[in-house]
């Protein structure tokens, strides 16, 4: 088995579209990762820097309010804070719409899928206040521009990003012998969380050759890395642990601690053979099958090692491997992949979803996603979404998909397609007799379209 356009579009893209042709070659798919980013222009999500202005504004308002606690002024400030929160919430839903529309209209949909993969690999979220709305800007700034180059650059951009630094509790982590800790004994100290997750989740994997001592040493090496709303990522020497640290047998940070030490250890971790193994397996499972062909994983691992984690080369190895195109096993679409591929098959007009208010986005998109098992941008842990198909095919998950499929599409566009034609648009030759019959026997367009979308051929990739 080798490349075929339909499988390419379904398995490595965002599903079939009535408006956009599937790719004609692997090279076209790979070229699509480095060309102009039309989707970012069409369906905007701000950079994290732009988003941060709102954080700074919120902090200023809160500070002002603390300082003047008297009546009317305070009331006015509270109102402003409330409006700021409300606008941020609406934006959060608008960006969810942008993510869906990018997948609906992208001519380089592999790029969108990779964004999904890496955003999940580097799962992060704000734990309170406006920062809860920061995930899309983080992905736009730290993930999206770094998906086709060296993994180490992506790793550095992601794990030292203010949102990850916040999410994995690095902000206050202070070297036990740092200036700051020595000046106020007992008040500041180390936090291991980011260090552990870098080793366990982002690089070596839990099976990797690291110990609790490596976690501790890496945590000490990371001290100094912190962030501030107004300034973004910071390296504060007075928080950094003095002296050298040894991670996986190599000593870092000889003389004066600085951010360069952190970059150095991250580059080494990115190139470590255990990282190659971990990531090869993860990519194969995500894109191909819960139980990928070992030869495919080996090929990805080899390419990763030979290229020091050059991601475009690794993707090339994936797309050129015969086992990537086997059609006897299919992953199940995860909830967001499911909803967005439905939007693509329907070619929903951008205007409808762009006009949705918060309430409509909740009812039609984010609440259904939750019922399908994916709480949008509110991860339950840093390990991201489950890959095992069984996780998504629970009775409650399947029921939520069915209910969405028959009800919501008609609210996303003025007129649904004829279900008998939609079968071929959405399934491109994968339609069974049963689904063809159901599409023709349904009592309404909405049900007919819904039955096509609920069909196993559409739910699997």
């Amino acid at each position: 088995m080798t490349f075929d356009p339909i499988t390419a579009e379904i398995r490595f893209g965002c599903g079939l579209s009535p408006k956009i042709d599937p790719p004609s070659s692997v090279d076209e798919m790979l070229d699509g990762l480095v060309g102009a980013d039309k989707m970012s222009e069409w369906f905007r999500i701000p950079s994290f820097q732009e988003f941060s202005k709102r954080l700074v504004r919120a902090q200023a308002l809160k500070k002002q309010r603390r300082m003047q606690s008297d009546g009317a002024d305070s009331e006015e400030l509270r109102k402003q804070i409330r409006l700021l929160n409300k606008a941020a919430r609406q934006d959060h839903f608008d960006w969810l719409g942008s993510h869906i529309l990018r997948r609906t209209y992208s001519e380089t949909p592999f790029r969108e899928r990779l964004e999904g993969f890496w955003a999940d690999h580097f799962t992060a979220a704000g734990k309170g206040g406006l920062l809860r709305r920061a995930v899309s800007p983080f992905v736009q700034s730290a993930i999206r521009p770094n998906m086709a180059g060296a993994f180490e650059d992506l790793l550095i951009a992601a794990v030292t990003h203010p949102l990850v630094v916040h999410y994995l509790d690095q902000v206050g982590s202070t070297g036990p012998n740092s200036i700051r800790a020595t000046n106020k004994p007992g008040k500041f100290g180390l936090n291991e969380n980011l260090a552990r997750e870098i080793l366990e989740l982002h690089t070596l994997g839990v099976a990797g050759p690291y110990t609790q001592t490596d976690v501790r040493e890496l945590a000490e090496l990371l001290t100094g890395l912190t962030s501030q709303a107004s300034k973004g990522r910071q390296f504060k020497t007075n928080m950094a642990e003095p002296g050298s640290e040894t991670v996986l047998g190599k000593s870092y940070s000889g003389s004066r601690p600085d951010f360069g030490d952190i970059e150095e250890v991250l580059r080494d971790l990115a190139r470590h053979p255990a990282t190659a193994r971990h990531m090869a397996g993860k990519l194969a499972v995500h894109f191909v099958s819960d139980t990928p062909d070992p030869a495919l994983v080996d090929a990805l691992e080899r390419t990763w090692r030979d290229s020091d984690g050059n991601l475009s080369e690794v993707y090339g190895a994936l797309l050129k491997h015969p086992a990537a195109w086997w059609t006897d096993t299919h992953n199940v679409k995860k909830p967001f992949e499911y909803i967005s591929s439905a939007a693509r098959a329907l070619a929903i007009p951008p205007k409808t979803i762009q006009r949705f208010q918060e309430k409509e986005m909740r009812q039609r998109i984010s609440e259904p996603l939750r019922l399908m098992g994916h709480i949008w941008q509110k991860p339950s842990g840093p390990d991201g979404l489950e890959e095992a198909d069984g996780e998504w095919l629970t009775p409650q998950g399947v029921a939520a998909r069915l209910q969405w499929a028959v009800i919501v599409p008609q609210l996303l566009m003025p007129r649904l397609p004829d279900p008998r034609e939609f079968v071929d648009i959405a399934l491109g030759g994968r339609a069974s007799e049963a689904v063809r019959f159901a599409a023709s026997a349904a009592e309404s367009r909405a049900e007919g379209v819904g039955l096509v979308l609920i069909s196993p051929a559409f739910q699997r990739m």
């Binding site: 839990v206 309404s444 069909s455």
Partner: protein
């Protein structure tokens, strides 16, 4: 195929589905008794030393500081242990002997302190994931060992995987937030479409069964408008009360009928920084869940119920540099219910001096938490200890019965 012949066929499909082994009751030969077991998984690593603070230990204050006791702080339990303020709502249960704790316990998981491996091991109930003792869960293995359990006996509730109930014994999986409203025609056609994929077909069949079990039929008359308004109503209803309490209510509803086993998860325990606040919220959610179970089960069933809350590991004995705790080893289990011999903390307390801490940092586990779970099963469902040590927790030495049940 025209519509009429299809409908005939789909009815036949419906029948054959109902008669298929996966959906048929295993046995009516004997009932599984009247006792109920609820297993709550606290995901993220619950800090046992915060839940039940061993403030009587001379080394405690050096690790955690002085904890405030009294009306706004911790509640003294027995002069040695004190209850976290977030759990204060459960004090009446403690006084009635319906709340207890097990301290300084853990799974056999050591050293790497990964949530995800830790949870896998907790739910698999084995000593080591690498030795490949099938990837099923211990509650599922228990179902197979207890005579009279059938497919209505166990519920995995909520949106997450709950591998603790994975396995060959059929169990029900459902989230009370999901409800279905479809036209009768769509119901039949959806069943037909799913026949292409046995896994999806089985899930859908179960979904139809469970969505009907709440007394609110799936099939709507009157078409699309009616359907949409029903879905909107369901969504509105589900927003009203907290998610966790809806899990508890649903569990209680099933346990009052044929179910004997229910399991669900609560999140929010990975408290690396400023943990006072987050733990306050998480404990009070847990407290509400227990109280919801108590009030919904009503006295007769509550008196036959044991609730056990377990977590993948405890946390560091010391507070870290950001007033939180990092991943540790030994932790606590929480026990509640009318069947529990509560009002006490079960522990072989290891002490908190540097030398007594596990690797100089964590509370040392002095017993395997599976032993306590095993003795609960023994008492609730009459399982022989040899069966537990062989089939449910392979290679575990159950040791002495701690007498957790009345």
């Amino acid at each position: 195929m025209d519509r009429r012949s299809f409908l005939t066929k789909s009815t036949a499909l419906g029948c054959s589905l109902a008669a298929s082994p996966a959906l048929a009751p295993i046995s009516f030969a004997s009932a599984p008794g009247n006792n109920r077991l609820v297993v709550i998984i606290l995901r993220g690593g619950m800090d046992g030393m915060a839940a039940v603070a061993p403030y009587g230990d001379p080394d405690f204050a050096a690790l955690r500081g002085q904890i405030p006791l009294g009306a706004k702080g911790y509640s003294d339990l027995d002069g040695y242990y004190a209850l976290h303020p977030g759990l204060r709502g459960l004090l009446p249960l403690w006084q009635d002997g319906q709340l207890g704790f097990v301290h300084a316990v853990s799974t056999p998981y050591r050293n790497k302190r990964s949530h995800f491996d830790g949870q896998d091991l907790l739910e698999a109930g084995v000593a080591d994931l690498a030795t490949g003792n099938a990837r099923d869960g211990w509650l599922n293995r228990m179902m197979g060992a207890v005579p009279g359990m059938n497919m209505d006996s166990a519920y995995a509730i909520g949106g997450d995987a709950l591998t603790i109930l994975d396995g060959s014994f059929p169990v029900n999986r459902w989230s009370p937030d999901v409800d279905l409203a479809l036209t009768p025609q769509a119901i039949r056609l959806a069943e037909l479409v799913m026949q292409d994929d046995p896994v999806m077909a089985a899930s859908l069949a179960e979904a139809f069964k469970l969505a009907t079990a709440d007394g609110d039929p799936i099939a709507v008359q009157g078409g699309m408008d009616e359907m949409m308004s029903m879905v909107a109503q369901d969504q509105a209803a589900s927003r009203k009360s907290g998610y966790e309490n809806r899990l508890a209510k649903f569990a209680a509803g099933r346990l009052k009928q044929d179910a004997r086993i229910a399991s669900f998860s609560l999140n929010g325990w990975d408290t690396h920084a400023a943990q006072d606040r987050q733990l306050g919220r998480s404990f009070s959610t847990l407290s509400d869940v227990v109280l919801t179970l108590k009030s919904e089960l009503e006295e007769a069933v509550w008196n036959n119920t044991a609730i056990v809350a377990v977590t993948e590991f405890g946390r560091t004995a010391r507070l870290n540099g950001t007033n939180g705790t990092d991943h540790g080893t030994g932790g606590a289990m929480i026990l509640a219910g009318g069947a529990i011999r509560g009002g006490r903390v079960y522990a072989d307390w290891p002490g908190l001096s540097d030398a007594n801490l596990f690797q100089g940092r964590d509370l040392t586990p002095t017993r395997d938490l599976r032993a306590y779970a095993g003795w609960l099963m023994h008492g609730l469902f009459g399982l022989q200890s040899s069966t537990i040590e062989r089939e449910i927790f392979p290679q575990l030495d159950l040791g002495v019965d701690p007498g957790l049940l009345l």
